[in-house]
Structure formats: C-alpha cells, structure tokens
C-alpha cells in the first residue's frame, strides 16, 4: 500500500516540567522547500488543515512582524485562528503565536525549526508552548476528534497520489 519513497515517523514529546508539546518529523526535501510550504499561503492551505475541513486564509504575511488569520470550515461551522509572526528567518526558523478564536484569551507560542540534514532532507522540530498544563492537555486531547473521524483511508489515498 505504501507508494512513498520513504515514510518518516512523526514523534511527539511532552515535558513534565514545562507545558509544551514538541513534534519532530523529517522530510525528503531541502529546508528551503519545506520552509516555503510553511510561508506561501497557497501552499499552506494544501496541507495544514484537516482534510474534512476547508481552510480559508484571510491573510498570511509570514515575515518578522507579520500576522495571519485563517478559518477552518467543517460541517457549516467556522473556526478562526490567528497569530503574529515574531521571527522569520528563511529556511531556518519561524517563531509565531497561535490563538484559537473560540478561546481568545489562550495563546500558544510556536517555534518551527528547520534543520538541514544534508542530501536534500530536512528535520522539522515544531514546539508549542502554552501557559498551563491544563491547556497543554486540552491541546493533546484536541487530536482525538479528528483522529477518530478521519481514519487511515485518506492517508492511503494521499500516498497513492
């Protein structure tokens, strides 16, 4: 069933002392390309949102001092997300904030590090830091809803493409 050249593991780490979740994932593409897929809104919409939802970008100005806002539409419900880009260094680093507008007082500080592994490969380390362990757990628990609904068929579909 697997038609991808290679399949990389997505690793999740949490920390007992600091309310953060860290995701580590390797890609078979150079940092410049992985970085571009994170900064060009036309590319971002193609992968960031869950497949069952439609992602609409209001604005996405990925540069130091810029900001973004996008909406996910699922079953007629709209969910807004916004944040600021605090530091953007091409092919290296994106530091941004992230707020789900349903919880406007909550904010996560996200750090995306693009590490050049050589041979046209990149390691992405994405760290989300929130301000309480309760919020960290809520973030982890949010994965449940989509995980249940979506299943693996969509993945197979994508992999076959």
């Amino acid at each position: 069933m697997n038609t991808t050249p290679s399949t990389h593991q997505t690793e999740i780490t949490s920390d007992p002392d600091v309310p953060l979740v860290r995701i580590t994932r390797d890609f078979d593409a150079p940092p410049a390309k992985v970085f571009r897929a994170h900064t060009d809104p036309e590319l971002v919409v193609q992968w960031l949102g869950p497949r069952s939802t439609e992602m609409r970008v209001e604005h996405y100005d990925c540069r130091t001092g810029g900001s973004y806002r996008y909406l996910h539409t699922s079953d007629g419900n709209e969910f807004g997300f916004h944040g600021c880009f605090h530091e953007v260094r091409p092919s290296e680093l994106i530091v941004q904030t992230f707020t789900f507008e349903g919880e406007p007082d909550g904010v996560a500080l996200e750090k995306l590090e693009f590490e050049d592994l050589g041979d046209g490969r990149t390691r992405l380390v994405a760290t989300s830091l929130v301000d309480s362990f309760e919020d960290r757990d809520a973030m982890l628990a949010s994965g449940m809803e989509h995980g249940v609904r979506e299943g693996y068929e969509r993945l197979d579909e994508l992999l076959a493409g």
Binding site: T4, H8, T10, E11, I12, S14, P16, D17, V21, I23, R25, F27, D28, A29, P30, P31, A32, K33, V34, R36, A37, L43, Q46, W47, L48, P50, R51, S91, D116, G118, L124, F133, E134, R136, D137, A138, M139, L140, A141, S142, G143, M144, H146, G147, V148, E150, R154, L155, L158, L159, G161
Partner: protein, 121 residues
C-alpha cells in the same frame, strides 16, 4: 479523564523508576517489597513512587494489611496513550499531506549553501 488527571499521569510517568514500575506491573500485580527488590533504593522510597502513581490513578492497592499487591489500572494508562497517539496521528496525517505537496513542488528555490564553506575563504 479530566485534564488535570492527565497532567498528573504525565508527571507521574516522567520518572524512570516509576516508568519501570509501571512496565513491570503490566506483567502482573506485585507487592511493594517485590517491586523494590531490583532497585538500589529503600522500600520506603518505592512506596513514595507508588503513592505518586496511585494519586495519578495509574495503580491501585488493596488494603490487605502487610501484603498489599499493587495493581496497574490499565484503562487509565491506555486512555492517556490513546490521547497522545491520536494527536500524533493527526500530526502525521498533516505531514504526509506536506510530503505529498513537497514532491510536487518544483526546485525553483535557491538551494541552501552546503554546511562546510570554511575552506573557500
């Protein structure tokens, strides 16, 4: 499971001895003395670790005087593992879409310079 319980579970499992205790209890119930045996720590210290695991809802102890076998509450453990696994799966799914996209992107961006440029100055 309430969010603060999940936090407790996470911090309870942050300790290597406690993780090891949980792994051993997955095989079967054991007494505090039996659990303490392989470690270079006192039974009292192991009891403290068990208290942390118990407060997190990960293990339970029957109140049978001296011999109180410790029992792993596998349900709690499974639920927590599921939360993380589903979160992971969601990230995995997202990044497989990114894999897909990266394969279709042309190489029109400037390649990053090779890491070792020191020899060329």
């Amino acid at each position: 499971m309430p969010a603060d319980q999940l936090s407790q579970v996470f911090s309870a499992l942050a300790d290597p001895i406690r993780r090891d205790i949980v792994a051993r209890l997955a095989v079967g119930d054991a007494t505090v003395n039996a659990l303490a045996e392989p470690y270079d720590v006192t039974v009292q210290a192991v009891s403290k670790h068990l208290k942390v695991l118990e407060d997190a809802g990960l293990v339970s102890r029957t109140r049978e005087a001296q011999r109180r076998p410790v029992h792993l509450e596998a349900e709690v453990f499974d639920l927590m593992t599921k939360w993380i696994e589903r979160y992971r799966r969601q990230a995995e799914e997202r990044y497989r879409r990114l894999d897909d996209l990266l394969r279709t992107l042309p190489d029109d961006t400037e390649p990053t310079p090779p890491p070792q440029t020191g020899a060329h100055r």
